[in-house]
């Protein structure tokens, strides 16, 4: 568990950080909380030559409202997210899922932006941001740009971020008034989810008017379950929800590991989608 040698810088502004990343090229990595990156380095599975620690850059933590949009700083820790009143009101799903991330020690160090930029499909937050239809704001040498979550996660541990771009904030349209639930299925509390389902539900007259379903660990990226979402629209009782949830694994390509096979993951996605949506809709 000894990492290879690396250089380390701790810039004080976003501009300095971007310059350091640009100078470092492909061998530079952002250290945003280190809860995924450092273990990979210690296992000698990642070999960055430069770590750019963004932990001391002011203005990258905390939340604010811009109209109906909640803006959360990328360096907000999971603990910070969990206890943020704005997050709880406008993105309750994010708070609920964040509460299931690892353990308190990790939640005090790990950050929202770090988790999203790491883009592990088995991590809880990427699928949540997909379901929340968030946008990710990056700053690079070519300026600032906004990337929709559905275009952000490109492959296993890959994102639309260029190596010299820094994720600075996450913009989430308010889902105040929506029902939400994160259903995480794991063998022990500290393990990755075998499958996780993030459900958001807007109800109208007792029926589901609109449902969004994000899937954790059902492919090389976090996924939505469009077929299930479509089938859920209009569902008015538990039986209809469960029926619709049967579509949840459509189009997914889950992996095999020591905890589960692809076909079992597909089965879980269907069962857990039903449970998550019922809980989100208050029908459970």
């Amino acid at each position: 568990m000894i990492p290879p040698a690396f250089d380390y810088v701790r810039p004080h502004t976003v501009e300095e950080a971007v310059r350091a990343l640009a100078d470092g090229g492909e061998d530079a990595k952002v250290l945003a909380g280190g809860q995924s990156l450092l273990p990979l380095m210690r296992l000698r599975m990642a070999f960055p030559q430069l770590l750019v620690d963004t932990g001391r850059i002011p203005g990258l933590r905390g939340s604010r409202m811009e109209g109906d949009t909640l803006v959360v700083g990328a360096m907000t820790t999971h603990h910070g997210v969990l206890h943020d009143a704005l997050v709880r009101r406008h993105a309750g799903l994010l708070a609920a899922a964040t509460a299931t991330v690892a353990d308190p020690a990790v939640r005090h160090r790990g950050t929202l932006g770090g988790s999203l930029a790491h883009a592990d499909p088995a991590a809880d937050l990427p699928a949540v941001i997909l379901a929340l239809e968030g946008e990710l704001v990056a700053v690079g040498p070519r300026g600032r740009r906004t990337i929709p979550a559905r275009e952000f996660f490109t492959d296993y541990l890959e994102t639309a971020l260029a190596p010299d771009e820094l994720l600075v904030e996450v913009r989430l349209p308010s889902t105040d008034g929506w029902g939400f639930h994160y259903e995480k299925f794991q063998r022990v509390a500290q393990a990755y989810a075998i499958v996780g389902v993030a459900a958001l539900v807007r109800r109208d007259n007792g029926s589901i008017a609109e449902a969004r379903v994000g899937l954790t660990n059902m492919g090389s990226t976090p996924l939505r379950a469009p077929a299930a979402e479509e089938a859920l629209a209009g569902a008015g009782d538990a039986a209809a929800v469960k029926r619709a949830a049967g579509e949840a694994a459509e189009g997914t390509r889950p992996s095999r590991d020591t905890s589960a096979s692809p076909e079992y993951r597909a089965h879980l996605a269907r069962v857990l989608t039903g449970r998550a949506v019922l809980a989100a809709a208050g029908m459970g």
């Binding site: 022990v188 509390a189 020591t258 905890s259 079992y264």
Partner: protein
């Protein structure tokens, strides 16, 4: 309180003397040890399960900054013996060579290939990447049955076979005849998955040489400093009296540090060559490959009974995975279990056979319980199967077959003499605490209404053999050493007490418990006792800590030694009080003359007199010291009844433990808090085997569960609140009446949990779920191997 009516220390839930240090980080782990000029070792390990080493070139590593030396297996081979196996279980056991550093072949992923020595551990780790190795792949040997086939590829080609040994045991009537007559015969196959002990502290070793005098101090995170000293002397040729072995603070072992490891021999060899202190500390993922594994067996079990439930016979056929090499007690682990398959039950016939098999995986060896959990699992599971076959309640089936309390001492069919026990009392208490009848009623109701979350109830009425071990029994089992334990006690001039023990605690709290034992006998305050251990210079004799032996053998030795101290102190006191020894009373640490209570001497006063030696009886040696080396007469036999209720979600396959009750009979209890801690930890570990942990290999022999992300160790939040209670039937074989508690929870809980899972699913046609009962395995068991609709 009147004089003499001192509250007994034994039986008190004393806070542990060790904990203030442990909890405030003022510990002395091996990895914390620093020495001037110390060098750091890093070990290159085979990435392949089986390969010929065509070329190992360490010279590029030697060129790197900070690197002091690098060695291949051939470089260190001179003067280096094979790592020891102390338990050749049969005369013709196949015993392959086991070099600490591979010389021409690697036989499991993680087999060490080269060692790099550098000024810091970073340089050492970096230099590993510069070592050049050419591997010529050889076939992996993984399947225990296939490994025994005529034309199977061989782990050790020079041995001509993968069969390590066959070890049979037959007792009672001829099994075939008993089977013929029996009304019911059931056969089942169970798999004991490989487990990896996750001691909180990884392994580490530091060696400091005194080159001028040829002396070496070996600090190691080991359970066995005394055995290690003997064995390292034999492996390296360094004379035993020039070796000092220290087990500093050691953070858990669970059997994994009951070993003589290659890294210990390598560190000693390197320190000897370079004349400099060296340190090696394993990382967790390195330990998963290089620290011995536990379990790893296929059990074919057959039970023969009458329709009324009476057991007639038991037949057990084991295939035991030795892994690539025989380590300290590798072959003996399944043999320890051989005596425990009949458990607490009476029967007419017992037949056992174990075949040890070499594979290209990390060697197996002792893991908490070592053979006994495997035995208990198999018998308790097949008792459940028999109960189901007969339509009988599983507790009732056990009741019909167990040894009744009035039948003790009882000679078990496997040849052990169970000295004491009361299975009725423990079971009745457990059933009441558990609410057995109410849970059975709930189970029936849930079944009727087709609840998708099913309730299951598991029971385990276990016994085990602890207190290893009577030396003559070990001789008969062909074990290479004895099973005694040593203790000595020094009364210091100020009346304080030093207890020196040959046990080597690594979390068990011996300092506390031994203080309680000595304080009671000597009549001194608990706080006035210090316990010295874990250093062959300070505690020169001992057989160390494993197999729930320490209290039963080592604690009893402390008791005997303390009695000898009192005997001598009585002589001194009688002399000082001018009374006859016969007229002296000794209570609460005070000698007084019967009938004249004002004539008194405290044991502290006596100790001081013995120190000055100004006025001792003629011919008496000064000071009061006493030692005792105890060879136990018998094993001890803890027992108990564990009950587990699980809820199984049939839609997902997830198992949740709803309640867990255990009533253990570990004899007299020295410190109830320590006992409860041992039970809790043991339960966690046994439950982990049932539900969570498994060393998983792929078809090429790579360890897939190579980090804690894939090898799932449960934490407190994953476990239920345990309801623990006890009955106390004192052991007859030692003066304390103690039986040992280190392994009971692990031994008992695994079958209780898996039994509960199977009980929940039995109406769906399920008779087994392989361990660990992962959600997917449970789900597949419910649905067969079909994909869900």
């Amino acid at each position: 309180m009147t004089e003499g009516a001192v509250e007994a220390e034994v039986g008190r839930a004393r806070l542990r003397k060790e904990d203030a240090r442990l909890l405030t980080g003022q510990t002395n782990w091996t990895d914390n040890i620093q020495a001037a000029g110390m060098l750091h070792l890093a070990i290159l390990r085979s990435p392949m399960a089986h390969a010929r080493l065509e070329r190992v070139d360490v010279s590029p590593a030697r060129e790197l900054p900070g690197v002091v030396a690098a060695f291949t297996g051939s470089d260190l081979a001179e003067g280096m013996g094979s790592l020891p196996c102390a338990w050749p279980v049969t005369e013709d056991m196949v015993h392959p060579d086991h070099p600490p550093l591979a010389v021409d072949e690697v036989r499991h992923a993680g087999d060490p290939v080269a060692v790099v020595v550098a000024r810091d551990r970073y340089a050492a780790a970096d230099a590993l990447e510069a070592v050049e190795v050419e591997y010529e792949p050889l076939p992996a040997v993984l399947d225990l049955e296939a490994a025994l086939a005529e034309d199977a590829p061989l782990v050790h080609a020079d041995k001509g076979t993968n069969r390590c040994y066959d070890w049979p045991l037959r007792a009672g009537e001829d099994y075939a005849a008993v089977r013929e007559r029996a009304e019911v015969v059931l056969k089942r196959r169970y798999h004991q998955q490989r487990l990896i002990a996750n001691a909180m502290e990884p392994r580490a070793v530091v060696v400091t040489p005194l080159a001028a005098s040829g002396e070496y101090t070996v600090y190691s995170a080991t359970q066995i400093p005394h055995i290690l000293r003997v064995m390292l002397a034999m492996v390296t040729g360094i004379p035993e009296h020039k070796l000092r072995v220290v087990a500093p603070d050691v953070g858990g072992g669970f059997g994994s540090k009951l070993q003589v490891y290659g890294e210990e021999a390598i560190a000693l060899a390197v320190a000897r060559r370079l004349g400099r202190p060296v340190k090696w500390t394993e990382s967790r993922s390195e330990g998963y490959l290089a620290t011995h594994h536990g379990r790893g067996m296929i059990q074919d079990v057959e039970i023969a009974a009458d329709r009324d439930g009476r057991l007639r016979g038991l037949k057990v056929d084991l295939l035991a995975d030795m892994g690539a090499y025989l380590m300290l007690v590798t072959p003996g682990v399944p043999i320890l279990g051989a005596f425990m398959y009949p458990a607490i039950y009476k029967m007419d016939s017992y037949e056992f056979r174990c075949t040890g098999v070499f594979t290209t995986r990390t060697p197996t060896d002792a893991y908490r319980g070592a053979g006994r959990p495997e035995a208990t699992y198999a018998i308790e599971r097949i008792m459940d199967e028999l109960a189901a076959e007969l339509g009988m309640d599983p507790v009732e089936l056990r009741r019909r077959n167990w040894i009744r309390h009035e039948e003790f001492p009882y000679d078990s069919i496997a040849g052990l003499t169970y000295d004491s026990g009361n299975y009725e009392a423990a079971t009745d208490k457990a059933l009441a605490l558990f609410g057995y009848d109410e849970l059975r009623e709930e189970q029936r109701k849930r079944d009727e209404r087709g609840d998708t979350v099913r309730l299951g109830i598991g029971v385990s009425t276990y016994t085990e053999m602890c207190g290893l071990a009577p030396s003559r029994v070990l001789r008969d089992l062909r074990y290479a050493a004895g099973g005694w334990e040593a203790a000595s006690i020094r009364m210091l001039p100020t009346g304080k007490v030093e207890v020196v023990t040959g046990t080597s605690p690594h979390g068990q709290g011996h300092v506390t418990s031994w203080s309680q034992i000595a304080a009671d006998v000597l009549g001194v305050p608990f706080e006035d006792v210090e316990v010295v251990h874990g250093d062959t210079r300070a505690a020169p004799q001992g057989m160390d800590t494993y197999g729930s032996r320490s209290l039963v053998v080592g604690g009893a030795a402390v008791h005997h030694a303390a009695r000898k101290v009192v005997d001598k102190a009585r002589k001194v006191a009688a002399h000082l009080l001018e009374a006859s020894e016969r007229d002296l009373e000794f209570t609460g640490g005070v000698f007084s003359v019967k009938g004249s209570p004002e004539a008194r001497k405290t044991i502290q006063e006596v100790a001081f007199e013995a120190f000055t030696s100004h006025d001792l009886p003629d011919g008496m040696e000064p000071t009061i010291n006493a030692g005792h080396v105890l060879d136990p007469e018998n094993f001890s036999y803890p027992h108990g009844t564990h009950l587990c209720a699980v809820e199984v979600d049939t839609e997902t396959g997830m198992t949740r433990i709803r309640s867990y009750v255990c009533v253990d009979d570990v004899g007299r209890v020295v410190n109830p808090m320590i006992v409860e801690g041992q039970v809790h930890g043991g339960l966690a570990q046994g439950i982990a085997q049932a539900l969570y942990e498994e060393a998983v290999y792929d078809d090429d022999g790579n360890l897939l569960s190579g980090t804690m992300a894939d090898y799932l160790v449960p934490s407190a939040v994953d476990l239920p609140d345990f309801v623990t209670d006890r009955t106390e039937t004192p052991a007859e074989s030692n003066p304390l009446g103690v039986k040992g508690v280190g392994e009971a929870g692990t031994i008992a809980s695994t079958p209780a949990v898996v039994g509960a899972v199977v009980d929940a699913l039995r109406p769906l046609g399920v008779t087994d779920v392989p361990m660990p009962c992962t959600p997917e395995r449970v789900w597949r068991a419910i649905h067969g191997e079909e994909d869900p609709a």
